[in-house]
């Protein structure tokens, strides 16, 4: 009975809310039909704002009319709300019979709410795909897909007048992708060995105390915001590398790929290390004991038994790290350059997909020039590439987990 009463109260408030939400809309439509153009002016008059210029009589009349309407609608609102509340009460009252399973009904409703919440993930994915795809299609109507995918020149600056130099922007994404890959490769060269070796040390050699201290410290690296890394890369690492290169007689650009890649590598160390750590721990102890009993040293056991056994998981972890490196934005925005160059020299300045997206979209309001649409096309490619990497990595990781369970 108590639960029924609860439901009753709950239901009638919902109905009230619905009615309240409905009525102002109907109210808004009425004056709009009469005087479409002057609605704003009337509204101002109603709310007694100051309007520039003289008030015409018709407008004044309309405003009065508006006021009348508002009064009547307020009255109507009250009537409708009260009557609907009574109606709901009556209906529900009639429904309350010993055979009513109120709990089941309420729980069914809650269950649907829960289902709706869990589908938000799918809607997000669909939203990402649609929003990026939609703008990309508009972009590919202006620039052919083949030029975008295989073109070797990237200079998205569109001139304002058609007779200016470089009026037609070039949208070949290859140099942008080459830059992304170069920086990611440098990052992985830093992160993969350091992350893997520290995972091995922590899980195989370190005693409990050392592990309890060192592991969280390494995880801190993952918790630092990327904008902080970007600042560190741009103001500490990049000048250091430039000066060091200057001492060695090399000409290093102040926005070198090396600096961005190095710092990005530091950021990724914990991803590699914590994932590899999990997988190394998942290798059954029996395999280790078997190797020791054959007389292998600890390092031989690790190299020849544990690593091969954990390899799929480690590869999956590294793939996840690569996808993170490709999608990383702030470090490269602050430390890498804007010039799209097709080079493999880590001392030169390169640009990445994320840098281009940011520079093309920040501060731009128009959404039909190829320049801004190109950002969405880059975003589409970025999304697809990282999605592919993630799917492969998650699949590998999942399969590997099942193997030892």
């Amino acid at each position: 009975m108590l639960l029924l009463g609860f439901w009753l109260a709950f239901e009638s408030t919902i109905i009230t809310h619905l009615v309240v939400a409905d009525l102002p809309e109907a109210m808004r439509n009425l004056p709009a039909a009469e005087l479409n153009l002057k609605v704003n002016k009337i509204r101002n008059l109603v709310s007694e704002n100051i309007i520039a210029g003289t008030v015409e009589p018709q407008v004044q009349a309309a405003a009065d009319h508006y006021r009348n309407l508002k009064a009547t609608s307020n009255a109507a609102l009250a009537v409708v709300v009260i009557s609907s509340a009574i109606l709901g009460l009556v209906i529900l009252r009639a429904k309350i019979t010993p055979t009513l399973r109120a709990r089941n009904g309420v729980e069914q409703i809650i269950k649907y709410i829960l289902i709706a919440c869990s589908t938000i993930a799918i809607f997000t994915t669909i939203g990402i795909v649609l929003s990026v795809l939609f703008e990309s299609i508009r972009f590919f109507q202006k620039v052919p897909v083949t030029e975008f995918l295989f073109g070797l020149k990237w200079s998205p600056q569109m001139a304002i007048r058609s007779d200016q130099v470089g009026s037609s922007g070039a949208f070949g994404a290859v140099p942008v992708f080459a830059g992304t890959l170069l920086i990611s490769a440098i990052a992985m060269c830093v992160a993969a060995p350091i992350g893997l070796m520290s995972a091995i040390y922590l899980s195989e050699y370190a005693n409990k105390k050392f592990r309890a201290v060192a592991k969280p410290l390494i995880e801190i690296l993952a918790g630092i915001p990327t904008v902080v890394y970007g600042f560190f890369a741009a103001l500490t690492v990049a000048p250091f590398i430039r000066d060091a290169g200057g001492l060695l007689g090399l000409s290093v650009s102040s926005e070198s790929a090396l600096a961005a890649g190095l710092v990005m590598g530091i950021m990724i160390i914990p991803f590699v290390s914590s994932l590899s750590d999990d997988f190394i721990n998942a290798v059954p102890q029996a395999l280790r004991d078997g190797a020791y009993s054959l007389g292998a040293t600890q390092s031989e056991t690790i190299k020849q038994v544990i690593l091969p056994a954990a390899l799929p998981g480690i590869v999956g972890g590294i793939l996840l790290a690569v996808s993170r490196a490709i999608g990383e934005t702030m470090i490269v925005v602050m430390a890498a350059g804007l010039a799209a160059k097709l080079t493999l020299n880590p001392l030169e300045t390169v640009t990445t997909v994320t840098v281009q997206i940011v520079t093309l979209l920040v501060g731009d309001q128009e959404f039909d020039s190829p320049k801004t649409l190109a950002a969405f096309a880059l975003g589409l490619l970025l999304f697809l590439v990282t999605l592919l990497l993630n799917v492969i990595a998650l699949h590998v990781v999942r399969k590997y987990r099942e193997q030892y369970e």
């Binding site: 919440c117 994915t125 929003s131 070796m197 390494i218 530091i266 007389g295 997206i357 998650l394």
Partner: protein, 433 residues
């Protein structure tokens, strides 16, 4: 591994014993062992070194920003300038200039005067204005007022200024240097705790710029994120873990969530730009939109953490609840959820900490604008703390470098507090079943 085992025992004279071969190789193998162990340790040490370098460089650059240089002026609140009728719009700049001229009468030429006025921040006149408006009785008196110095002077006092550089390339000229030296010899320059940094909004002048506007913007954004992502995330986790049948549909949802957790954050920014701004027409630069985008980003994190918290609750509790006649929903709401809540909260705090540090998606939805006012609501234009850091990092003035570092210190302090809260929560309520 042990290929010597293949040898047959017995024919000892021609062939050596297995043990000898093993022993001969042993030294080398132990060396390899030690080397390998050293590599492991070196890797950990390397990441520690990176971590400490990062902190040292940022703290070393930033700690000075908590101090600000002030100059003492003898200001005569001239009643001729301060007309009672228009106190708010009086020429306060003139007051500052007059007291500077009184201090250094040797500045005669127009260029000298301009250099002299450059010693004091343009915020000095605002300070005098609020003084006069709050206490109108100061008019006619001469008071000693500490006003903020210009950022170049500030840098000089803090030792970030190289006097050896040729005069043409310096931001402070020789004459200004002698004036400053005289001021500090007379004790008219000192550094005080920098309250402006914590109370002001953004500014083009480093000595007047503060992080409060960005902090408030971040706060509004996070409130929206928390209000949306926590209930939705918990609801989704409860459904997937407790109610969902194992079929293709729920599999799809699961794969989706795992993928979303690894999608680059900038793609979420693109989504926000295309859907929230262009399609729904929400205002640019508003914390609402930032909160929505960050909600979508943190949802997977919260769902994954909540699910593992739910699986940690043992089935015996569920069965006991069902056994005494609770419905499935009652079982979840009354028994499973309260037990799983600490784990869910921990996951939520970690997700919030990530959202607080996130910059890239906010750049996409226009939260990078230069905003001086402190946002008052969810739809006011605002920036967030990490975005403010990004903006300041781009500014050329030397003084902004230390402000940026100081803002980073503040951001890291927030993150450390949040993560510490998560750790404490976990330690306190973690139960092993």
């Amino acid at each position: 591994m042990n290929n010597s085992q293949k040898q047959l025992p017995g024919n000892g004279k021609q062939k050596e014993r297995t043990l000898d071969i093993v022993n001969r190789g042993l030294k080398k193998r132990y060396r390899a062992e030690r080397r390998f162990r050293f590599y492991g340790l070196a890797a950990i040490v390397a990441s520690m070194v990176f971590l400490s370098l990062l902190f040292i460089s940022i703290v070393g650059k930033g700690y000075t920003a908590f101090q600000q240089t002030f100059v003492r002026l003898n200001v005569f609140f001239n009643p001729e300038i301060l007309d009672k009728q228009s106190l708010a719009t009086a020429n306060y700049q003139g007051l500052v200039k007059m007291s500077l001229r009184d201090m250094f009468p040797d500045a005669k030429s127009r260029r000298d005067k301009r250099m002299l006025y450059g010693l004091v921040s343009s915020g000095a006149s605002f300070q005098l204005r609020s003084m006069v408006l709050n206490h109108p009785d100061v008019i006619g008196q001469t008071l000693k007022v500490w006003v903020p110095a210009d950022d170049d002077v500030d840098m000089l006092i803090k030792g970030h200024f190289d006097r050896q550089v040729a005069e043409g390339e310096r931001r402070l000229k020789d004459k200004q240097l002698t004036w400053i030296d005289r001021l500090s010899a007379e004790g008219k320059i000192k550094t005080k705790f920098n309250t402006t940094f914590f109370t002001a909004g953004d500014s083009r002048e480093p000595e007047l710029a503060g992080i409060w506007g960005a902090v408030v913007g971040s706060f509004f954004t996070l409130v929206i994120t928390l209000l949306l992502s926590f209930p939705i995330g918990v609801a989704a986790a409860v459904y997937l873990e407790e109610f969902a049948p194992k079929n293709r549909w729920t599999d799809l949802i699961e794969v989706n969530i795992n993928n979303l957790a690894a999608v680059p954050s900038i793609v979420f920014g693109l989504l926000g730009l295309a859907v929230f701004l262009n399609f729904f027409g929400l205002p640019r630069s508003a914390p609402v939109v930032g909160g929505l985008v960050l909600t979508l980003m943190t949802l997977p994190v919260i769902i994954i953490a909540s699910r593992s918290a739910l699986t940690a609750v043992p089935p015996s509790i569920r069965e006991a609840a069902l056994g005494v006649g609770a419905s499935k929903m009652q079982m979840v709401a009354h028994h499973v959820l309260p037990l799983a809540l600490p784990g869910m909260l921990t996951g939520t705090i970690i997700g919030m900490a990530r959202a607080l540090g996130e910059t890239a998606p906010l750049l996409m939805i226009g939260m990078v604008a230069f905003i001086v006012d402190i946002p008052a609501g969810f739809t006011d234009p605002a920036t967030a703390l990490p975005v403010q850091i990004y903006l300041w990092a781009d500014s050329p003035e030397r003084a902004f470098v230390e402000r940026t570092s100081a803002a980073i210190i503040v951001l890291l302090a927030f993150l450390i507090i949040m993560n510490a809260a998560a750790v404490i929560l976990r330690k306190r309520y973690e139960r092993r079943w």
